[in-house]
Amino acid sequence: MKLVTAIIKPFKLEEVRSALTDLGLQGMTVTEVKGYGRQKGHTEIYRGAEYAVSFLPKIKIEVVVPEGTVDKAVEAIVRTARTGQIGYGKIFVSPLEPAVRVRTGETDDSAI
């Protein structure tokens, strides 16, 4: 069981969600976040004032995946979130200790 955390461009969320759903994954958590990677920020101009905006809006997806599906899930995110340009995001996979379903008290794979 792994926690897959993906930081993606906001407008790619729907494609990623639908690809993960197609893999049979039943839930995910989405957070609006700000950040930057190698693409840095961009400049905005308001009347005469130019501002360098370092932190750009991104979407963070967190999805818990059974061991056997991790590679497929990562591949699905990469396929749908990418267009080949800089700034399309990152995926982090981390091990996960116990997971519990609040309603039933089930644990681990049966809880997700």
């Binding site: 905005e44 101009i45 308001y46 009347r47 005469g48 004032a49 501002y51 360098a52 905006v53």
Partner: protein, 488 residues
């Protein structure tokens, strides 16, 4: 000739004689005082409310959208407060100082004969610009009140995000008293059409010894006007009184208050251009009351002011967007909204004088020049006029005031200047009018510039102008008002 025929002729002759007598006796009576036309009254009631709409919520949202979230509420509050305060001051003594005869100081300011609206009743009337046409004085007071409200409200944009509320509480009453009311009087106060036409008729009819007396009476009527009005300066709806006046006062405020903490180093982008567009659009809508209402009648001049307010604004918005596209690569919404306001400002003095094609040219010039001023020149000079009150209102106002001198010319499609002594549009001397306009601009710049500098300095000594650095970083919403604009 039959008997019947001659009898009929006799009857006709008698009837005609009686009619003549009746006409003569009617002539001898003093004419009844003019009564307001309901169409004019209805329009001026509406126009007054439209000008209020410009300020609240129009200007409040336009400004509010441009500041950071932590100062949004303070911006709304400052504009709202100024409107409420000036409404009261206006009826206490402001109207009297602006629009009554001022005795020995009449060239500069009115008197106190109408303080507390003394003597004004629902039957009182104020003259429009046509001999014999009047509106109820209460409507005129309300209409002019809205102008007195918006002008100081415009100033607060220059010191946005860093002026203490208590400083404004002291500054605004001082400023309207020593700057706005005198300038409104200097530019707009005059004896009125009835007195001017009456004196001119008496002078034309006078012969011999009576001629000198009639000439003296005519001179007295002409002299009973504010300084700039007496020069013959044209300001249809307040290019000098409202926009140059508030613009230069804003610059003085921005200089004396100083730059915002972090200016030029930290990002200070507008928190909601959606609000700003709503505000700019409400300004445009309300400006029809401002400009077309300044005709004081529901007639052709109001219609001219209306079409000019449409086209000059649109032209200026397009010009600013085009200039941004060329200079910076992308046309912006804020640029379009700023251009629209610049166009509205520029067409204000010209609204009832220029033709529609002239107004388009005026708008284009205002859009380009103000855009250049708000980006290149402001950055080069380094002062922090936070919401470009000087760059849009003062510069746009100067373009409008000077442009009016050119575009009022009948050969350029303008209406010329109506001469009440001859009863028709007089010959137009463009150069002379342009110079007169420049004099009125200088008068306003100096009076308001020096006056505002002094008043801001006094306020700085008495209560101070800006909050502490930590308070400024926290935002004026919480520091001055203890609440936030948004809770979600």
């Amino acid at each position: 000739m039959s008997l019947g025929m001659s009898r009929r002729i006799a009857t006709l002759a008698v009837t005609a004689f009686i009619l003549c007598l009746a006409a003569a006796s009617a002539f001898a009576q003093t004419p009844a005082p003019p009564t307001p036309n309901k169409g004019d009254v209805a329009w001026m009631l509406t126009a007054s409310v439209l000008v209020l709409l410009m300020t609240i919520p129009g200007l409040a949202l336009f400004y509010g959208g441009l500041v950071r979230t932590k100062n949004m509420l303070s911006m709304l509050m400052q504009v709202f407060f100024v409107v409420c305060l000036v409404c009261i001051i206006w009826v206490l003594y402001g109207y009297s100082l602006a629009f009554s005869e001022g005795g020995s100081l009449n060239a500069y300011v009115g008197g106190l004969s109408k303080a507390f609206l003394a003597g004004v009743t629902p039957e009182s009337t104020a003259e429009t610009f046509t001999d014999g046409v009047v509106i109820p004085e209460y409507v005129y007071i309300c209409f002019q009140m809205t102008f007195a409200c918006i002008t100081p409200a415009l100033i607060v944009g220059a010191m946005a995000e860093r002026i203490k509320f208590s400083a404004l509480v002291l500054f605004i009453p001082l400023w309207v008293t020593f700057v706005y009311f005198p300038i409104a009087h200097m530019v707009w106060y005059w004896a009125g059409p009835a007195a001017t036409v009456g004196a001119a008729k008496t002078l034309a009819a006078a012969t011999g010894d009576a001629k000198a007396a009639a000439q003296a009476a005519m001179d007295a009527v002409t002299a009973n006007a504010g300084l700039a009005f007496g020069w013959g300066a044209l300001d249809f709806a307040g290019g000098t009184v409202v926009h140059i006046n508030s613009g230069i006062a804003g610059l003085m405020g921005a200089l004396l208050v100083g730059r915002r903490v972090g200016y030029g180093k930290e990002a200070m982008p507008p928190h909601s251009l959606t609000m700003t567009l709503i505000g700019a659009a409400l300004l445009w809508v309300g400006w029809f009351g401002f400009n077309a209402g300044s005709a004081l009648e529901a007639g052709g001049t109001a219609a001219l002011a209306m079409i000019n307010t449409f086209v000059a604004t649109a032209a200026a918005a397009l010009a600013w967007m085009l200039a941004e596209k060329v200079a910076k690569g992308k046309p912006s919404l804020l640029g379009g909204a700023s251009g629209a306001v610049a166009g509205l400002v520029a067409v204000t003095p010209a609204a009832g004088f220029a033709g529609p094609m002239g107004a388009i040219v005026l708008g284009i010039v205002a859009g380009f020049v103000c855009m250049f001023f708000c980006s290149a020149i402001k950055n080069a000079l380094g002062y922090d006029d936070a919401l470009d009150v000087f760059g849009v209102h003062c510069i746009g106002g100067i373009i409008g005031a000077l442009g009016t001198g050119i575009l009022a010319a009948p050969i350029l499609g303008g209406s010329g200047v109506f001469d009440y002594t001859t009863g028709k549009v007089g010959d137009y001397d463009m150069l002379a009018q342009f110079i007169t306009q420049a004099k009125a601009v200088c008068l306003t710049l100096i009076w308001s510039g020096v006056g505002s500098f002094i008043l801001f300095s006094i306020v700085k000594m008495v209560v101070g102008l800006r909050p502490g650095t930590d308070q400024e970083r926290e935002g004026l919403d919480l520091v001055d008002h203890g609440e936030r604009a948004y809770n979600y």
